[in-house]
């Protein structure tokens, strides 16, 4: 994990520089000239208190921000007008001040005016909105593609054509901090840190493909201006070209079950050279992982590794102590699967169970992790079957 304080300082500087450049851009932007005097004060105020959208680090996020501020000020303008008239009237046209009620009750021309003027304002807003939408929906001409798959409750990132793919989970440290105030308070990015960052190069047009393995998730990183639903059985797309290196955090935005609040997203944007170095390391790692399945493990090693895998992968449903949630997620302790035929146990972990939340972990975990976790489930959590599984058995069962 990168050092926390340096990261935050860095992104703060980035934000500052993007704000400055965007002022220049906005001043140039003639379509917004009439709002110019209004632009300065609120942005400075909002930036400090975390009350407004950030401008982000892509052209799309900046366009959205511009649109957001335009429509916001349009609303403020209308509000001042309408509420101003209302408040004036409430102060001066009250019976206690001796006001005598007028009797007018109709005017076609007034009705027409307050139908047509708002219509004109809406058209003025719809034009730039259309332009931004057309631009952000155009995912052509991508330099690279990352496929993002939502799982209950983690993300999988696959670098298409690179042979690199991995899962990204909320870190164990963060999970524990949900019930531990002391460790929570020391954290810079509570609930927003993952074990494996999505590393991306700056200056490249990146296409994201979103899909899901189970329920609907939604992949959202504000600074990138990307939020797109990940639907099971279908693929959506979005794109981003990140301008500034840095770390950008997001969260799942579509209710996806119990741990919906605990599947954050961390994007780490690096320079092209750093990205290539990282990519090379990942390829090495995946090779090493494949080689590990040939090794014969001792029971102690399997149990130690199994506990790690269990708590990161299985415990959110089946419970830290294997109790599950009655009626929703079955218990591990004393279950016919974890205490019965070992082949049936391997089968359900590898292939999942259709029509339930039980996923096919064969696609997610390595042979050795699967062997470890199955061994752990049979010999811990209140079970003591006594047998064990080797990675080679898993490899054969796939």
């Amino acid at each position: 994990m990168p050092s926390k304080s340096s990261v935050s300082d860095f992104s703060y500087l980035n934000q500052l520089s993007t704000i400055v450049t965007s002022y220049i851009r906005k001043i140039k932007n003639l379509s917004n000239f009439y709002l110019l005097p209004l632009f300065f004060a609120p942005q400075l105020a909002f930036a400090e208190f975390g009350m407004n959208l950030p401008e982000g680090v892509t052209s799309v996020s900046r366009n959205i921000y511009g649109l957001h501020m335009t429509i916001f000020w349009v609303c403020v303008g209308i509000a001042i007008l309408v509420f101003g008239v209302m408040i004036y009237s409430m102060i001066f046209h009250r019976k206690s001040k001796g006001a005598v009620a007028a009797n007018f009750h109709e005017s076609t021309s007034v009705e027409l005016a307050w139908t047509l003027i708002p219509l004109a304002i809406l058209i003025a807003v719809a034009v730039p909105a259309t332009r931004v939408l057309i631009d952000l929906e155009n995912t052509d001409a991508a330099d690279m593609t990352v496929k993002i798959t939502g799982y209950q409750w983690k993300w999988q990132y696959e670098y298409i054509d690179q042979g690199v793919s991995f899962f990204s989970n909320l870190t164990e440290e963060q999970k524990k901090a949900t019930s531990d105030k002391a460790s929570r308070e020391g954290m810079e990015n509570y609930l927003l840190e993952v074990d494996n960052h999505l590393v991306l190069p700056v200056g490249k047009r990146i296409r994201f493909l979103m899909t899901s393995n189970d329920v609907i998730h939604s992949w959202w990183v504000r600074d990138l201006g990307v939020k797109q639903d990940a639907n099971p059985g279908f693929i959506n797309d979005a794109w981003a070209k990140i301008d500034v290196p840095g770390i950008y955090r997001g969260q799942c935005a579509e209710l996806c079950g119990k741990d919906h609040g605990f599947m954050p997203i961390v994007v780490e944007a690096k320079s092209e050279a750093d990205y290539q170095t990282w990519l090379g390391e990942q390829k090495e790692k995946q090779k090493a992982l494949a080689a590990a399945s040939g090794k014969v493990w001792s029971k102690e090693d399997l149990m130690t590794q199994g506990q790690k895998v269990y708590s990161s992968t299985c415990a959110s449903c089946h419970g830290v102590t294997g109790g599950g949630i009655p009626g929703v997620f079955p218990a591990m302790t004393g279950s016919p699967i974890t205490t019965g035929d070992i082949n049936a146990h391997i089968d359900i972990v590898l292939n999942g169970k259709a029509g339930t939340a039980m996923q096919a972990f064969g696609k997610q975990l390595s042979d050795s992790d699967l062997a470890a976790v199955i061994t752990y489930e049979r010999n811990a959590l209140g079970n003591s079957v006594g047998d064990l599984v080797q990675p080679s058995t898993i490899k054969a069962a796939r």
């Binding site: 407004n52 949900t178 509570y190 927003l192 939020k227």
Partner: protein, 550 residues
């Protein structure tokens, strides 16, 4: 037409031997409420049912705000948290807001159009008595193995099908029953308004509350069967092996959202159009000036209703809709702000150069106009498809729909209760306490919901039980506002019970000096049977003079 129906009803009553005397009072004891076919009794039942559901749904909101008071998981586990958000939404929408408006319709529509009763009194009884059973069934899911529905009030598949607890089938049955009840209530409203109006009352003589309810009833009849279809498809997906919403079997989870929102968007107007009606009654009364632009109000309501059926997918900009779809739904959606704006401008102009007093109903109505408009502004922002990328499924949305549903729909219901309660029970409420309650509620509700705009823009997703530390301050402020707003309902309960039991009797038929409308021509408290003889043309014209057509 209406005379014929009235005669027919008399004949039925005579044949059934229950109508010996035109002026008999209510039956005594519990059976009065079980067997009643009287629109006033049924209205009362609806309103008390809605109020008790409001308190239950509100208690769930308190659990939510308590858990979100500070970062970390303190009180409830995430699964139970999800059950709370889900049931809070369902109970407030289907148990509190909708039945409250049906209760107001039951009490007021016959009184406002000079009818003896609702057109279909026995169906009226049934449409009410389905509700408590549906409500109880929904709440009972909390105590079942696996807990209650935990997939949000929008219950998107496949979280609500393949991945849902067993109790979901009870949820489906409860939604079906709530739908039956709503459809029967809507049929009754339409039949009553079309057939039971005083013979000399033309459509354009009708008070705005009656107009908005007529239009709402059509929305209900069109929208509720779609919801029934959606939950039935869920039921067969869950239990009979179909795959409407499962891509593995050729279905599509996004289709669920299309069907749900084809119901869901008209549904939000079902909850706000009668509110427009209420406010259009109250503001002219206390501004002592006719409603500005009566006919444009009617046309604006009808336009909003029609548009509400063609904008549903603005809830789905991020589902992967083609760009043409997104553009169309964006244009159609922001278009709704035109007729909505017309309504707000008309209310403001009604107040302009009036002679205003600010009794409690007026305070609530004015708060409605201001705060609903704020909800309308955030709605306009959400309608801009590219900007919605950053707002969607964040607390900005939570703030938006609570401004339109709490400070919109709920505030108008409270306004309506204070406005008509003296007519219903014959006693005046305690004005001083009611004003204290108003300021308490209106300040706390803004402390509760306004910071949620900032939370959403700062990046907090909705429906999460725990959050990153940067959201801590606003969440704590919001929770404090929430507890204060929740507590204000204890005072409201006291004010209302105190009014009914010990309130100072009101002598005047016209409770508010400048109120117009047929409901103010009957005695105070409204007798058990009113308008045995329809009001004369002269009275109708006098009482609709606030409309400004005469």
């Amino acid at each position: 037409m209406s005379t014929t129906t009235t005669d027919l009803q008399d004949e039925i009553d005579t044949l059934e031997g229950s109508h010996d005397d035109h002026h008999h009072g209510p039956e005594k004891g519990l059976m009065r409420w079980v067997k009643t076919t009287n629109h006033k009794d049924i209205g009362t039942l609806y309103i008390w049912f809605a109020f008790s559901m409001l308190l239950i749904g509100g208690a769930m909101a308190m659990v939510i705000r308590a858990e979100l008071f500070m970062p970390g998981i303190q009180l409830v586990d995430p699964q139970f948290f999800n059950q709370m958000t889900t049931l809070h939404g369902l109970i407030m929408v289907f148990g509190a807001i909708m039945p409250a408006f049906v209760g107001l319709a039951n009490w007021q529509i016959p009184l406002m159009i000079g009818a003896k009763d609702m057109a279909l009194p026995r169906m009226n009884n049934w449409s009410f008595w389905i509700l408590p059973f549906a409500g109880m069934m929904l709440i009972s899911t909390l105590f079942m193995e696996g807990g209650g529905p935990a997939f949000g009030w929008t219950f998107y598949a496949p979280l609500s099908t393949t991945f849902a607890p067993d109790s979901t089938d009870f949820f489906i049955f409860a939604v079906h029953m709530l739908g039956f009840s709503s459809i029967m209530g809507a049929i009754n409203v339409i039949a009553t308004i079309m057939n039971m109006r005083a013979p000399d009352m033309k459509y354009m003589d009708m008070p705005l509350f009656v107009w908005t309810w007529l239009i709402t009833a059509f929305l209900l009849i069109a929208a509720m069967p779609v919801l029934a279809g959606a939950v039935t498809m869920m039921l067969t997906d869950r239990n009979f092996g179909t795959s409407f919403f499962d891509a593995a079997g050729g279905g599509d989870p996004v289709m669920f959202q299309h069907i749900f929102w084809f119901f869901g968007h008209p549904e939000v107007y079902i909850m706000i159009l009668p509110a427009f009606g209420v406010v259009s009654q109250i503001i002219p009364t206390f501004a002592r000036k006719p409603l500005f632009g009566y006919s444009s109000m009617v046309y604006a309501t009808a336009s909003i209703a029609l548009l509400s059926f063609v904008v549903w997918a603005h809830h789905m900009f991020l589902t992967g809709m083609p760009i043409a779809g997104q553009l169309y739904f964006m244009y159609a959606t922001i278009m709704i702000s035109v007729p909505t704006g017309v309504k707000v401008f008309n209310w403001v102009t009604t107040m302009w150069r009036g002679s205003m007093t600010f009794e409690t109903p007026m305070l609530w109505a004015v708060a409605f106009v201001i705060l609903f408009t704020i909800g309308g502004f955030s709605g306009l922002m959400l309608g801009i498809a590219p900007a919605d990328i950053q707002y969607h499924d964040t607390y900005f949305v939570v703030a938006h729909f609570h401004y339109v549903l709490v400070t919109g729909a709920l505030f108008s219901i409270i306004a309506a209760v204070f406005y008509w309660l003296p007519k219903w029970c014959g006693n005046m409420y305690n004005e001083k306490l009611a004003k204290i309650h108003f300021w308490w509620a209106v300040i706390s509700v803004n402390v509760l919901f306004f910071p949620q705009h900032f939370l959403g823009l700062a990046g907090m997703p909705r429906r999460i039980p725990d959050y990153s530390l940067q959201f801590a301050d606003f969440n704590m402020i919001s929770s404090i506002g929430g507890f204060a707003f929740g507590a204000s309902f204890i005072l409201l309960t006291y004010i209302i019970v105190d009014c009914i039991r010990n309130g100072k009797p009101v002598k005047e038929d016209r409770v508010w000096d400048s109120a117009k409308g047929l409901e103010w021509t009957v005695a105070t408290p409204a007798p058990y049977h009113t308008f045995d003889n329809p009001p004369s043309k002269k009275v109708i014209l006098e009482e609709s003079s606030h409309i400004g057509e005469h």
